[in-house]
């Protein structure tokens, strides 16, 4: 069964047709050309496919494409403002908070959600908030530092 879906992705109206059992991750990557979200595990453990749906952080591998009818989807492609990088993106580069980069879009989306809810998190809160994102290059310390620096900049401190 094919499903016709009208939704909003990063503020743009988008229509697509997908299979009923197709995940939002596969729709984003294979039908909409938004390849920022990555498939790591495909079972909600690694967070590489993190996106927001109606402002909630989710793993897009655990959402069906058909479910986002009328919803607002936010992906990594919507994070920078044109050529102007988001403070989190800038700080990830400055702090070298990435090696292979596969986990990075998911970390950025999850960190963005964390800072939206808690603009001044402690290190423990950052580590807990990002526990659903796995980095196999083991760059966690640099990621935490980058999030702390971005949080500071975003608070205008």
């Amino acid at each position: 069964m094919s499903v016709k879906v009208s939704t909003t992705v990063n503020g743009d109206k988008v229509d697509f047709v997908c299979e009923a059992d197709e995940t939002l991750l596969d729709v984003l990557r294979n039908r909409l050309g938004l390849t920022g979200a990555k498939e790591g595990c495909g079972t909600g453990d690694c967070g590489a496919c993190s996106v927001t749906v109606d402002g909630r952080l989710v793993c897009s591998c655990l959402v069906l494409g058909a479910e986002v009818e009328g919803r607002k989807v936010g992906t990594i492609e919507g994070m920078a403002n044109g050529d102007k990088l988001h403070p989190l993106q800038k700080k990830f580069i400055e702090h070298a908070a990435l090696q292979c980069g596969i986990c990075t879009p998911g970390f950025l989306i999850a960190a963005g959600d964390l800072l939206k809810r808690n603009p001044n998190p402690t290190e423990e809160e950052i580590r807990f908030g990002l526990a659903g994102n796995l980095c196999r290059c083991t760059g966690y310390d640099k990621i935490v530092r980058a999030v702390q620096a971005a949080a500071k900049e975003m608070r205008g401190a």
């Binding site: 059992d21 909600g44 967070g47 655990l62 069906l64 807990f128």
Partner: protein
């Protein structure tokens, strides 16, 4: 696979009732989609119930609280009034998975997935929560502990869905707590768990108690003897030891890679004692 997203419970029940092949209800999907991905289930029909507005609500009612079947667990943690009334239950619900999973997972899904290690279920059983079941023959309300019958199995009949969880009204001087043992700090499945819910009288003596254990039997178990050990006491050492002994006696666990029978039986008592102390303090006991 066919995907349907009805906007009333009645329509969802009708779709489920007349389904020919395998039909599954989709709320948060954090169990169902994983099982689909792994090839453990191949649904002919998936019924997404998130378009049913009435099932979204988390609200205070005349008789306590009602938590709709599609309210994500993250929302429970953000509801200050609910956290105040049922801190233990919310803690348990918020232990399920990561922030990403919290944005999707639901307590009704946690219950219906019927894992003996489900985190929110011992807290729900300790809370004396009820499940509102809608089916082809109308609605019925059953105790939460009557929903699961074994690992992955429930007492729900064809065409039935759980619409909401009802929590009783909180009397003064009441408190609950949930603790689980996992070998790491987060993102894991309970090896053993315990939920305790207490009501105290004006002098701080336990007037009413419910104790439930997870991951020590085919289903979450309510332990009446453990509750009896606490009632009429101020949680002195003797009462806590009796509580622990009753909990260990109620365990019928399995040996597996996450824990042995011996370990689970011992730790059930430890966790129940610690959870009882937390619940007692939350109820205002000193």
């Amino acid at each position: 696979m066919q995907y349907e997203a009805p906007d009333t419970t009645k329509a969802a029940v009708a779709l489920l009732a007349k389904a020919k092949g395998s039909a599954y209800v989709l709320a948060g999907g954090s169990d169902l989609l994983v099982r689909m991905k792994g090839g453990f289930v191949e649904p002919d029909l998936v019924i997404d119930i998130k378009r049913i507005k009435a099932l979204r609500d988390v609200k205070k009612t005349a008789s306590g609280w009602s938590i709709g079947a599609t309210a994500p667990c993250a929302e429970l943690g953000e509801n200050k009034a609910l956290v105040k009334d049922w801190p233990g239950l919310v803690e348990a619900a918020n232990l399920i998975g990561s922030k990403q999973v919290q944005g999707r997972c639901t307590i009704v899904g946690n219950l219906c997935n019927a894992s003996p290690a489900a985190d929110s279920v011992p807290a729900l059983v300790a809370a004396a929560a009820k499940a509102v079941v809608a089916g082809p023959k109308g609605k019925r309300t059953i105790a939460v502990e009557q929903v699961t019958t074994g690992p992955g199995r429930t007492s729900l009949k064809k065409g039935e869905i759980i619409e909401a969880i009802q929590l009783p009204k909180r009397p003064p001087r009441s408190g609950d707590a949930y603790l689980r043992f996992i070998p790491r700090t987060e993102m894991d499945i309970a090896v053993v768990s315990a939920g305790v819910n207490l009501v105290l009288d004006a002098s701080g003596t336990v007037k009413d108690a419910r104790v439930a254990l997870g991951a020590v039997a085919p289903t979450v178990v309510l332990v009446p003897d453990a509750a009896k050990a606490l009632i009429g006491t101020k949680l002195d050492a003797a009462a806590l030891n009796k509580l622990g002994a009753a909990c260990s006696a109620a365990c019928r666990p399995i040996d597996d890679k996450r824990g042995t029978i011996e370990f689970r039986t011992k730790v059930a008592a430890v966790l129940a004692k610690r959870a009882a102390k937390i619940a007692y303090t939350r109820a205002g006991g000193k």
